[in-house]
Symmetry: C2
Subunit: 149 residues, 2 copies
Amino acid sequence: MRGLDERSTVEEIEKHLRKVDYIIRRKGREILSDFNITIPQFTALQILINKGNMTIGELSKSMALACSTITDLIDRMEKAGLVVRKKDEKDKRVVRIEVLSKGYEILEKVLNKRIEFLSSKLVDFTYEEKVRLSLGLKALYDAMKDEIQ
Amino acid sequence: MRGLDERSTVEEIEKHLRKVDYIIRRKGREILSDFNITIPQFTALQILINKGNMTIGELSKSMALACSTITDLIDRMEKAGLVVRKKDEKDKRVVRIEVLSKGYEILEKVLNKRIEFLSSKLVDFTYEEKVRLSLGLKALYDAMKDEIQ
């Protein structure tokens, strides 16, 4: 009996994560289009800012996308003034992608809009309910974060 | 003080939802490519199965994508044997998209793979922790589901 319950609980977690994700992504796409950037550009900005300047190869591995796709992506982001290609200080043969101030600003503005959206949806949650949800999601992230390391 | 705490709790929820979403999507893309379907195809399958046969226009509205994009998507899904276009029983001028058994099978297999993945990550959670996370996500979904209605 416990076995069945366990399975259906995980099913419920999967279902609601998937549905919440769908709504947030739809909303997120709206927010991103206001700032004139796409989802992969936003993902790349986050990774480059979190992990520091990367090569095309490193970013390609991190995003699980082909190098040619990443090259196109970075071309467009460079044209938009979000990032710049720079030679590595120590090894001039290596080219790294550096996020420009416009990239940092857009990331911050987009995140703020997402937080505002979520805040408006969580308005009827008690503080304790929010803390509980936050801790649950943190534990879930901690349990799966080795997938991207 | 409470104001600050509330804000940072929502920030934490946003951050961990975004990171969990990123990992699940990466994993999800892997799973989908094993079944030879793309993320938009998977999304369309879910919507068509949940809401019943829709027209291109209705699906376009539901996915917040242009009709031309949806037409291309459905063309490819029809070629892959996932869906079929059918004239509406009541009004022959209206064409609706019907999911075929292959579409149902793939959706079920993909969801099972996603549940297995999540199960493996939740292995160290107690039953109570899983239930708490499940209830928190359900409440979050309930609070935002009017966005897609």
